[in-house]
Symmetry: C2
Subunit: 169 residues, 2 copies
């Protein structure tokens, strides 16, 4: 049975207790964009105390800033955010492989399928060192000309073992 | 005062009540990846009843599938997900502009700055029709050779006015 069937009942409860959230504005009230990993264990609303309407939340494999650039430009230029917090986390899958390995895995999964060669065009943006990856992403955002120069950029690690966050930069 | 100062107290509460979440596995238990918008009003954990450990959550401006492809490949090939639910939403900023307009806005914000011409390399992936954008993204994923053919793909609209979800495809 597909997991989407499980959406129905919780969504009915959420809508029944929606309160005044229907009047929230499009622009985030904290002028904040959070970049974090897609990892299933990370619930940024809960572990950062974010409430609906306060912050853009951009998530991808790793919480990689480069992959978030399109979204960040829209967030800043059209919706007024002026602060970015980048979160990577312990136990991240991005620490466990590299792009050549994953390309090989994909192509060898169905060797006769030439369409799979498209994977050679994808940089999976993995990182071998967690702390350094946070520093690198903060530097990337601070130095990128398409990110507004007045942006406050911070970098953090979330610990999946404890639920605690730690600021790196 | 930067918004990140507000992370400290809620995070201490979260960590103090972390329970047994430290033992959650890396791979999502529901074998599910959700693709949704970065919009500040969307709390997928709450409105879908998702709990920590159950699903990858990929978020970008619009909840655009194409922008999520790198993450989806990692999610499927390395972490075992076999279902994707794409959510777009009413009142989305992606319905309000187009790429040429945003490129112009960025370049004209600082006309002497030639580094801003890098924005001409970015496709902002906006969409003019909400329902069609969901259908298009589901088709994109079903037809993409790098997405596993056995994947269950569904497409949904979240209503920011009511908190309700509606399946499109």
């Amino acid at each position: 049975m597909s997991a989407y069937h499980d959406f129905v009942s919780p969504n009915a409860d959420y809508a029944a207790n929606f309160g005044d959230k229907g009047s929230l504005a499009l622009a985030p009230t904290k002028k904040l964009a959070i970049v974090t990993c897609m990892d299933a264990r990370l619930n940024a609303y809960a572990h950062l105390g974010i409430k609906e309407g306060e912050a853009h939340i951009i998530r991808n494999a790793g919480g990689v800033a480069k992959d978030a650039l399109r979204s960040i430009i829209i967030s800043q230029r059209l919706l007024g955010t002026r602060e970015i917090a980048v979160f990577h986390h312990t136990g991240c899958g991005m620490l466990t492989f590299d792009t050549p390995q994953l390309r090989k895995l994909v192509k060898e999964s169905d060797p006769g399928n030439t369409a799979l060669q498209a994977v050679d065009n994808i940089d999976f943006l993995e990182f071998p060192d967690l702390e350094q990856s946070v520093k690198d992403d903060v530097t990337y955002l601070k130095e990128n000309p398409l990110v507004l120069p007045e942006t406050t950029v911070t970098g953090w690690i979330y610990e999946v073992e404890t639920g605690k966050i730690r600021r790196v930069v």
